[in-house]
Symmetry: C2
Subunit: 338 residues, 2 copies
């Protein structure tokens, strides 16, 4: 089969790879119905995370189970499934606490930008849809594998409550779906920091009530202006740089919460600074598995449509263009059809 392989900075190729096979008896092989490019794929694509060797890319997936190992009990061939980028057994103490992305047996699921994917710990990792979904639901179901689950975790980690004032730092796909999540959780006011008109439009569609175009300390000052001088109750940090993290922390009221899901790159926090701001801080790789059942229901019932975040759709063999368009910010997120 052919799949996406990253060789080095700006060098992603669609080329022949071995087909995945069952290695452990707990594995499943999934035939990919749809996949996509993640904002976090851009870190190695841009050379910010070094690439040691040619690496099969992609970790967002949904599709039909092709085969299962001998120890797989609940997942069956023919079922439509969605899973997280971290495989998890869903039984260890961390999984039981809802932190499947810290499963004691966790394993990264890579190589999803291809027609077939090996998923470890299939029973714990994969969640089935009530029936095989129609094609129009695929984009939204695909987002649940990472980007929507991550936006949802950002809002959950930021303790978004009914009636809350929320600020979102970052207008990428995760930030935009953080807006959707905050709206679903009942936020009354959702302030998005964005300078891009098309993203502002989508943010408003997802439930944003205010747009702030200023950044850094000016952006913080605008948020304070909008919130009684004290800051937002909940702030979603969806970028991962020093500037975005400080913007998030300083936009939060004392006792308010920052949910941070942008993978931090070179971020350093001073203990004294955190102490004086009195914010709550929680983040990390999203425990997507925790949210999958609820989010699948919301999508299948037509209550949310996170698939709108895809503004570029390509056949899988054009995956290099999917990366380029996101890198150049011509696209928010690229959907790929195998």
């Amino acid at each position: 089969m052919r799949g996406a392989i990253l060789y080095g900075p700006y060098d992603v190729r669609f080329e022949e790879r071995d087909e995945p096979t069952i290695i452990e008896p707990t594995d499943a092989i999934v035939s990919i119905a749809a996949t996509c490019v993640c904002g976090s794929d851009l870190w190695p694509y841009r050379g910010i995370n070094p690439v040691a060797e040619p690496t099969p890319m992609g970790h967002e997936y949904c599709g039909i189970v092709e085969a299962v190992g001998s120890a797989v009990r609940t997942i069956k061939p023919g079922q439509f499934v969605i899973g997280s980028f971290f495989a998890s057994d869903n039984t260890c103490p961390n999984c039981q606490d809802g932190y499947q992305s810290s499963c004691q047996r966790r394993e990264f699921v890579g190589g999803a930008q291809a027609p077939l994917l090996r998923v470890p710990l299939a029973d714990g990792t994969l969640v089935t849809t009530p029936e095989v979904p129609s094609d129009d639901l695929l984009p939204s179901l695909l987002t649940l594998s990472d980007v929507m689950g991550t936006g949802w975790f950002a809002a959950s980690a930021a303790n978004v409550e009914r009636g809350a004032t929320v600020a979102v730092v970052g207008d990428g796909a995760v930030g935009l779906l953080g807006v959707l999540a905050a709206r679903q959780m009942g936020a009354e006011r959702i302030i998005v920091m964005s300078r891009h008109e098309s993203r502002q439009r989508l943010a408003r569609e997802f439930g944003a009530t205010d747009i702030v175009t200023e950044r850094g300390e000016e952006g913080v000052a605008r948020i304070k202006d909008l919130t009684d001088g004290i800051g937002a109750d909940s702030v979603l940090e969806c970028v991962g740089t020093q500037e975005s993290m400080m913007q998030a922390i300083h936009s939060t009221r004392p006792g308010g919460s920052v949910g941070f899901v942008g993978v931090p790159h070179g971020v350093e926090l001073s203990g004294e600074g955190l102490f004086s701001t009195q914010v709550r801080l929680h983040g990390g790789p999203a425990p997507v598995r925790r949210f999958l059942p609820e989010l699948i229901d919301l999508v299948c019932d037509g209550k949310i449509n996170p698939g709108k975040v895809f503004d570029l759709t390509l056949p899988l063999d054009q995956v290099p263009e999917g990366y380029r368009a996101m890198d150049e910010r011509r696209a928010i997120k690229s959907l790929l059809w195998p």
Copy 2:
């Protein structure tokens, strides 16, 4: 009158000072019934925080209102009162959110190691007891002004819940009262990190179930051993050094909470590190005012006895010995009678 004044490292003197007077119409003057030395007083005493000029010391207090300014409405002369080390109006948005230590009009209350003290924003800051308390209640009531309120906030910030497993880093007065707080909040298991026998004894009296004598990564490994390999649900950080903060963060399970109340000195946290641990972090100067009504009731009803944390009692004129004994760790905490 005579009071404690810090001149420089290890140089605290009990000497003549001006009596405080009403400066703002919202002030009160309190006649001190009992005061004490705080662990945070040791930072300037040891020269770690520089002392720019001779500084009246002490910020923990309870006593009888002597006089009030013309704008004071609810506090009356003759009442017995307790207040926080931060004066607060108790009406601004941050106060309403329960973060009175970030009151928009907050002011530090200093100079309490003396017979008389000026307290700004008296109506917002001071809380009265139901009646003038008997002398045997004074040590416990005094702790509510800071050290007990701070231990309580540590437990509250660490989201201690009924049945939880809690770890406490630091066996100073705040850590020990953090144990008491966690017990009151229903923690089932309370692990204290301590190497001092007298402090271990008091910790057990306050409700500790396990003692860990190891520190650093060895201490973390012991906590993991005791907690299914994943870490404690809630960890109270009551020291403020890089080592203690890392020990606290690494002793917490993914999704668990660190409440940090030790004033950080030179603490730096890596965003990547926090991201990968998935802990919740919340701390800062304790909003003591929020807890005062509840804690006064618990003390007056004989349900808690935090005054046991004082293991040295001196007349106020021997305040230098109170500092020395705590600096040399001969005393956990020094109570001073004016």
